[in-house]
Symmetry: C3
Subunit: 499 residues, 3 copies
Amino acid sequence: MNFRNILIIFIFLWNIFYKIPVCPAFQPKIPLSETSEECLSCHRLYSPGIFSDWKKSRHAGMTIQKALQRPENERRISLNSLNSANDKGRVAVGCAECHTINPTSHKDTFQHNGYEVHIVVSPADCACCHPKETAQYTNNNKMAHAYGNLYNNSFFNTLRKTLGAPKWIQSRLPEKISSSASTEMDICYGCHGTHVKVLGMKEIETPVKRIKVPLLSGWPNIGVGRVNPDNSVGSCTSCHSRHAFSIATARQPYVCRRCHHGTKAPAWGVYEESKHGQLYFSQINECNFEAVPWQLGKDFHVPNCAICHSSLIKDPAGAVLIERTHGYSERLWTRLFGLIYSHAQPILPNTSFIRNQDGQPLPITFKGEPADRFLISANEQLSRKSNMKNLCLACHSTQWVLNHFNHSEKIISYVDEAVKAGTELIQQSWKAGEASPANPFDEPLETLWLEQWLYCANSIRYASAMAGTPDYVNSKNSWPELTKSLQLLQKYINKKKAP
Amino acid sequence: MNFRNILIIFIFLWNIFYKIPVCPAFQPKIPLSETSEECLSCHRLYSPGIFSDWKKSRHAGMTIQKALQRPENERRISLNSLNSANDKGRVAVGCAECHTINPTSHKDTFQHNGYEVHIVVSPADCACCHPKETAQYTNNNKMAHAYGNLYNNSFFNTLRKTLGAPKWIQSRLPEKISSSASTEMDICYGCHGTHVKVLGMKEIETPVKRIKVPLLSGWPNIGVGRVNPDNSVGSCTSCHSRHAFSIATARQPYVCRRCHHGTKAPAWGVYEESKHGQLYFSQINECNFEAVPWQLGKDFHVPNCAICHSSLIKDPAGAVLIERTHGYSERLWTRLFGLIYSHAQPILPNTSFIRNQDGQPLPITFKGEPADRFLISANEQLSRKSNMKNLCLACHSTQWVLNHFNHSEKIISYVDEAVKAGTELIQQSWKAGEASPANPFDEPLETLWLEQWLYCANSIRYASAMAGTPDYVNSKNSWPELTKSLQLLQKYINKKKAP
Amino acid sequence: MNFRNILIIFIFLWNIFYKIPVCPAFQPKIPLSETSEECLSCHRLYSPGIFSDWKKSRHAGMTIQKALQRPENERRISLNSLNSANDKGRVAVGCAECHTINPTSHKDTFQHNGYEVHIVVSPADCACCHPKETAQYTNNNKMAHAYGNLYNNSFFNTLRKTLGAPKWIQSRLPEKISSSASTEMDICYGCHGTHVKVLGMKEIETPVKRIKVPLLSGWPNIGVGRVNPDNSVGSCTSCHSRHAFSIATARQPYVCRRCHHGTKAPAWGVYEESKHGQLYFSQINECNFEAVPWQLGKDFHVPNCAICHSSLIKDPAGAVLIERTHGYSERLWTRLFGLIYSHAQPILPNTSFIRNQDGQPLPITFKGEPADRFLISANEQLSRKSNMKNLCLACHSTQWVLNHFNHSEKIISYVDEAVKAGTELIQQSWKAGEASPANPFDEPLETLWLEQWLYCANSIRYASAMAGTPDYVNSKNSWPELTKSLQLLQKYINKKKAP
């Protein structure tokens, strides 16, 4: 046992018995619960990044009681009153308040220095103070169901297995073997979220001592539809990064970029090069990302993801321009990306139950017929579009907005038609036996088709809908690439057909 | 008629008759014209984003009279004195000052609450206070002519129609049909600018009431060469984004990024990863983007697009390092991008009249012979190069600059040679009937050639000229891709030639 | 002789004889050496960007003597005491202090107004005040040896010549000719650094007069492994950009982006879209990039390149979390990029001496056997990994870190296996005479193999190791592209094999 270990044990015992930390004193402005104080007695030494992140957070400087005294529209919590479950209302929101709540529902709860602690803080835990946001996210946001919407959909499950399969590793030749949990975790569940499971208990060596903790699979993960050990879905830290849980971070587009980026979902790229992005990046230092409510003209002059898709926005006169929502579909009528063709938004966020007229787990057939009973009505589409239009009108004239929407809808319909041509070609090749539809994603011909809708069509639809235009419609997986891909597909099929 | 509509009408009438807005009072620091006040009585309620953007603008806090009292080199206006046309010299530059000026020249002028208002504020309108900038931009900047330079050039017009044509949508098979106005608007005119035309009058539903407005095609659009309903060319808001018209926004590279970005014109990407970009992004918070004149060492220490290509720059001692210009070619001698080979800058910004020795509307033949009489002379090239060199010398030693220019010129000549090889190959294939030159862009072989000069050669030229080097010459549509493309082109042609 | 030239000569003579500059007075806070004062008498007029950059630098506001009075852990210099070589300890670090030091060792020293000045300030010059940093960089950082590690390695030298060769320019058909120094300078040595050589003396025209200076080849260049005219290796200004030499610039990720960017080394891209990047970009304005030592929780809350790979970091209690190093391998155990397979870090930064069991200048054979005697031991790997783990633990729980490392190692091994399949295929084609291994990079088949390891495998390894996941493993030169490339390679070879 070397000197460092002796020192660590000494500090540990000192902390336990005297509760006088060895390191410089920390005087919280808001009293901590006794349990959180005990957590911090060690963790401020051994998890200094977590501690200092939390220390600057609103959680560290606020109690539920105090928060409830703020005018309703300035609150960041959505519970209405303290109740018996909120007996911690007089203390700061510290380690214990989140990591020991709802202990019995958490399969990842374990005994830690006499406390029942769980590892994965879930939306169900956050709901203690943020019930509305959790309910909106869980019940009205496809993102919360992103794990199941992929895993429980046989079409996309095949895509997942195909993209995620390092097929060749057995014989060193490209062969079909089952995909790897690790690659799938990177490829799909990095964004969609993993199913975090408790595999049992495991002893691990921490900087302090060896402890037994629940061994988790699918962890760490910050995917938006993570299935948590308490069976709740979602991960608030996808956007409200732990342990500062800063609203300013969640309101900046960087959190969205992590997933809405790149070839498949180029929202970030389109935004970045749009006039909206120009304004944002050149005036970012004039914005107050902390204010609640968030007031146009006072707190910000520029558009970004949160403003258009989620936040409560007040106009300069103090009137509500649009209400806050964590169910992002509420401001969306058409679904533009991820699927073969655009279509009306699904009614429910869990889309794995959708079956189209051909029995496929898709909201639209290969011919383009929508599975109407699973999708929102024309009226609901109009109503959502009207909400978004009102927001656009804050900064744009009526004709500007109308023309933009008309233009964008035309482009989207052209792209859908183009993709239909590709779908028809790949179906011809399936009929002719040139490729097998058993797995529609694993042959070079099929890759062309996949790229047509998953890359090119997504780019063009996004670019047009977000007024981003140039680059993502003329050179970055867009019209020229779509044309090229269709030419290749047709050429290949014609060659095969030749006698 | 529901409650909301009644409320809106009440507010509207109240505003009209009492001119006492319902929403909190707005006390402008600078008196508004009566007309602008009446605009704002409604629009600060119904266009809160536009209003608050304008409110923080210099336009809202300044009169022409006051602006003229500033020392000449601190002025942001370039008219020399108030004249009869400037009777509004004592009021702020409000809505009416821009949207009701020159009513008869604007085909988009319409009657709006008793005023003759036009929708599209044009460079000819801005010229009232900014005549020099408008003249420079219009008469000496190819960007102002970007619409016609594309539309009136049969070579590039074919490219436009080919890239913009969703050819397949008729029969669901790739077929040649005419291109779509909507896709062209996204693909080409998003950057180049549209020709905005008045199609007639149309009744639209605004948040206040139904009104009749001129129905515009090609609108909204912020392309740099937009042809406006008053026949002026250009769009000042491409860079000076409405309605703040902030010089700080125009001086940051984000406005340039929108078009000079991506595969075709990767100036942004090259800058971003260059030493210049490093300095800019890491010291951005130390820069004062508002100061006029803009002084090296005091206001900024870092290079960016505006500094090198447009702004008036003073040295630390207060002497002019380089004069302001809105004719960006003034600091450019060679034209590096968009054309097949590099060549001397054209004499006139309207390039659609250029014809080379082979009668093509190109400044250089396929063999590389420049159409000298349309291009600036060797002396003029030297003079412009010398201007730019002087600016470089502010931060670099003489040998540094000389070596950089020599190096860059070598690279550009190598790339031109490489592209010539590709042109020769594609010409061989046209002669052999393997492809048809009728449309030089619509066959897979031709796509290879197009990508060689429009993507790869552009990348390498830019990267070298802007001292950006690594990424854009070694892996991002650059030397390796150019080599690969030439190999493919040659292989394909040889295969066809084989007996 | 025109008026401008007369004026310049007048100013020049005035400066020389009266030492009273014509332009406004510059009163340095710290006295300058007489020599530096004389430099500035001209150069503050003729190099205003360099002057103003330097003026705001710590070099201009500090003397060695004063710096030594600071507590050791707040110092930015690493010499321990003034010695006879530091007789300039009482003056600011001006032009002369760096550009006239060690004159005899510099082949680029020349007579300039009576002084022996050299052009290229080298790490050996910086070592006068920063000996530890220079030693760490030179002796324990592969980057310092990046020129030789490329130039003296026959495998990579062939790659260099192949990528850098504008092969076609002779006959206008793709032909093998020797590569061009200019293109190589852009493609490879832009990042790796050039070998700067003195070709002789040359008269050049400066803004003041004609002077004779050493003509340098390979200059300008800011590559990390530049070989300098004094035979030292490296370029401190790659990160500590001249002439401000700001620690704040060096600590921001933009300096790393210049080279660790794009297809080959996508560290920037992976970081940018990771949770680490989200935190950085959304909280950048809350960071103090100047503080030494750099304290977690006080000066920054977010991770970036410098924090994890280089800087001295203190925890909130003031204890050292990790020591500063300019030998970045000290925190790295596995080498992930640039080579065919991942492997243990090399023992020495000069890797050109490495020979594997097959005699290749590679740290690992095509079959995947590591050249153990040139690579760090398993114990050393564990020790370095443990250093990095300790840093991770500041912000992450023990299980988080363990699971992340395990996951990442699995992914890296899968990718290595996938690349092995590609290597086996290309070896088969070499045996079958379908391609020639004489140059393993110049045929289309070989390009597929190259892209598999240099582009795709690098992306996936980086994305996984840096917890960046989604985009760089699922669509940006990653698993799907790797699969596609392997399928193409196999298909091509099988076709050739068919009777």
